[in-house]
């Protein structure tokens, strides 16, 4: 086998791409090649939202055991609710709405990190508790009324060029940037180092608290941005709009080849895993299966992929 091919096959994420293509192929066989392009466009459009939050979740998980952000769904809902209500379908307010969403993300990140640092609560529980507060704030702020997004924003969020959704293109670029940040900047290396061995990282002069703080804020801001665009994409903010992203963000990160134990992040795998999960759903829908069987098969595929991929990783 040529060295280049072998090198690619050793990447942990290559198997997820192969799995995603296989699922797409199976769907195509079933529909006899009908609508393959449309399916890919839809997969890209929906995977975009998974990838935005997964980028943040990936950084958080890379910080080491116990680090998971469970407040992503509530943050999405809060940011989406506040932004759509303030924009009030006015095109001229889009920028204000976006900045507000960013501010919500910033606030959430600060609050989460405050709980983790000052009260020394395990991050899972801290973000779980705070998510209840954010969810309540979102309910209180808008009482679940669904306000339409400004038309121009809705247009940007749903438009595609030659089958490539605009947002997907932007998020592919974002993923490239995060990849570079992760591997080429002091901050990115510090996140990995903290995840591999916090004590060693601290002894090496890394300001562990600052790295953690930046990462939780980064994750919350991305969740808020996702809430902003997802409410534009889906015709308004709904109170349960973030729900699916709680497990989805974790699944995408881990199936994408990032280590749950921390210290090893993987950006290319995120897109593959997000596409894979959407395509599995779409395939099972195409087959016309009932909800129960669909859930069981989705679960079996996730467990199967993780068991198959588990052996690929080196133990230490």
């Amino acid at each position: 086998m040529p060295a280049a091919v072998k090198q690619i096959l050793e990447r942990p994420w290559i198997w997820v791409y192969i799995a995603a293509i296989a699922v797409w192929g199976a769907t195509m066989v079933f529909t006899q090649g009908q609508g393959g392009g449309d399916l890919l466009t839809a997969a890209l459009a929906f995977a975009t939202f998974s990838v935005i939050v997964a980028l943040g979740q990936m950084m958080v998980i890379t910080l080491g055991p116990g680090n998971v952000d469970l407040s992503i769904p509530a943050t999405m809902t809060l940011a989406g609710t506040v932004a759509t209500k303030v924009m009030d379908t006015q095109d001229s307010m889009i920028l204000v709405g976006f900045l507000l969403a960013l501010a919500v993300g910033l606030g959430v990140g600060l609050f989460n990190y405050g709980l983790i640092r000052l009260l020394q609560i395990p991050p899972i529980i801290a973000t779980l508790s705070s998510s209840f507060l954010f969810q309540s704030a979102a309910i209180w702020y808008n009482r679940g009324l669904r306000i339409k997004p400004p038309p121009q924003l809705a247009d940007i969020a749903t438009r595609d060029v030659l089958g490539l959704p605009l947002l997907a293109a932007a998020v592919i670029l974002l993923a490239v940037i995060v990849h570079v940040v992760l591997h080429r900047t002091t901050y990115g290396r510090a996140v990995t180092a903290v995840g591999q061995n916090t004590r060693a990282a601290a002894l090496a002069g890394i300001n562990v608290d600052r790295v953690r703080f930046q990462t939780y804020v980064f994750c919350a801001v991305l969740a808020a941005v996702n809430g902003f665009f997802f409410s534009a994409f889906s015709g308004g903010a709904a109170l349960n709009m973030g729900q699916a992203y709680l497990l989805n963000s974790i699944a995408v990160v881990v199936i994408g080849g990032t280590s749950v134990a921390g210290g090893f992040a993987n950006v290319p795998g995120l897109w593959a895993a997000a596409m894979f999960l959407f395509l599995v759903e779409a395939m099972l829908n195409t087959f016309g299966l009932g909800a129960g069987i669909r859930l069981v098969l989705t679960g079996l595929i996730i467990v199967g992929v993780i068991i198959a991929a588990g052996g690929q990783k080196t133990e230490r």
């Binding site: 209840f132 309540s136 497990l247 679960g299």
Partner: protein, 347 residues
């Protein structure tokens, strides 16, 4: 494990009673429970009657059992994100196959000959399915250990499988609990309300099982230092199988207890149990790593969470903030724990 695990439980040794922060820390779950209980009695004095107590603590029983299940998984440094869906599956099986056998399955309606033969109506079918489910849990433990897999993702995938199976078994809410189960959950005990007796029994039995038995120490030890447990000659695969198998068993008990209370089944009834069980275990003093767990604490943590819910109802809080207040209670209790732990470090 550095601090002699048995004494971190509620049954702490007497000699350290007065000032040790470690004892304070182990008393905190009980203290939070007492505070919430007193607050409820203050807001609603009628809750102080036996029937009031029974209503307050009823739902704590299945939640406590689910929390115990989660705690077994935490003891070996893993996390179970599927316990809620699993409990839902048990409820679905319990309300169909455990009361009416295979003929109780809506899926098979019309397929079974009318005077149904014995084999189609025996509740044995339900028992076999639930035993198989426990077997699946033990198997998961083995696979996670053998393939070095992240439990979060495996159980995440399993949560889809259990949820899907539950929907297949019971597509729409319905079915009915076996009579013996209903009888058990509405048992009349003199003086002390049944749910409180049940909670105490659960806490003590699991305490003996996990904190006082030799194999319990091995399970907790494998969370503290797996390598040394393996070097001492124990099979880590078997330890994980035991821990996950026990989690599966207590998940079954949780589902059955829940079914006995609700009397009819619903596949989605226990979705919240996943997060509740994690929060309850942590509230009760368990840690995510290190095999540091507390069964009695877990039961108290689960009871605290259940009561917090009733407390907020009695408070007549603006419903918008009801979920938020639950988050706030969690944060306050955990913050108190940190204050005490700081004292522990200083000592």
């Amino acid at each position: 494990m550095s601090e002699g695990a048995p004494s971190t439980t509620l049954l702490g040794r007497g000699y350290a009673w007065s000032t040790s922060p470690r004892v304070l820390r182990s008393l905190l779950p009980a203290f939070s429970l007492a505070v919430i209980l007193i607050a409820i009695f203050y807001l609603q004095p009628r809750a102080m009657s036996p029937i009031g107590m029974k209503l307050l603590f009823n739902l704590a029983v299945p939640i406590a059992l689910a929390t115990i299940a989660q705690m077994f998984v935490l003891a070996v440094n893993d996390l179970d994100l599927s316990i809620g869906a699993y409990v839902g599956f048990v409820v679905a099986v319990g309300s169909t196959m455990l009361s009416g056998g295979l003929a109780g399955l809506p899926l098979l309606e019309g397929l079974i000959p009318d005077p149904a033969p014995w084999i189609f109506t025996t509740p044995l079918a339900g028992i076999v399915v639930l035993a198989a489910a426990i077997g699946v849990y033990a198997l998961l433990g083995a696979v996670i250990q053998l393939r070095n897999l992240p439990s979060i993702v495996v159980t995440l995938g399993m949560s889809f499988i259990w949820a899907g199976l539950a929907v297949l078994v019971l597509p729409t809410p319905g079915g009915s609990a076996p009579t013996w189960l209903r009888g058990l959950m509405t048992l009349q005990v003199p003086i002390v309300p049944f749910p409180i007796v049940a909670l105490i029994v659960i806490g003590l039995v699991v305490h003996l099982l996990l904190m006082r038995s030799a194999y319990g120490a091995v399970i907790r030890g494998s969370g503290g230092n797996p390598r040394s447990v393996a070097r001492a000659g124990w099979s880590l695969v078997r330890v994980k199988m035991a821990a996950f198998g026990l989690a599966g068993l207590f998940g079954v008990l949780s589902g059955l207890a829940l079914l006995g209370l609700t009397t009819a089944g619903d596949a989605n009834i226990a979705v919240r149990y996943t997060l509740l069980s994690i929060a309850g275990a942590i509230l009760g003093g368990s840690e995510f790593v290190g095999g540091r767990v507390s069964p009695i604490g877990a039961v108290i943590g689960a009871a605290t969470l259940t009561l917090a819910n009733s407390f907020l109802t009695f408070l007549r809080l603006n419903p918008d903030w009801q979920i938020g207040a639950q988050g706030a209670i969690l944060i306050i209790v955990l913050a108190l724990r940190v204050l005490i732990s700081r004292g522990e470090v200083r000592n």
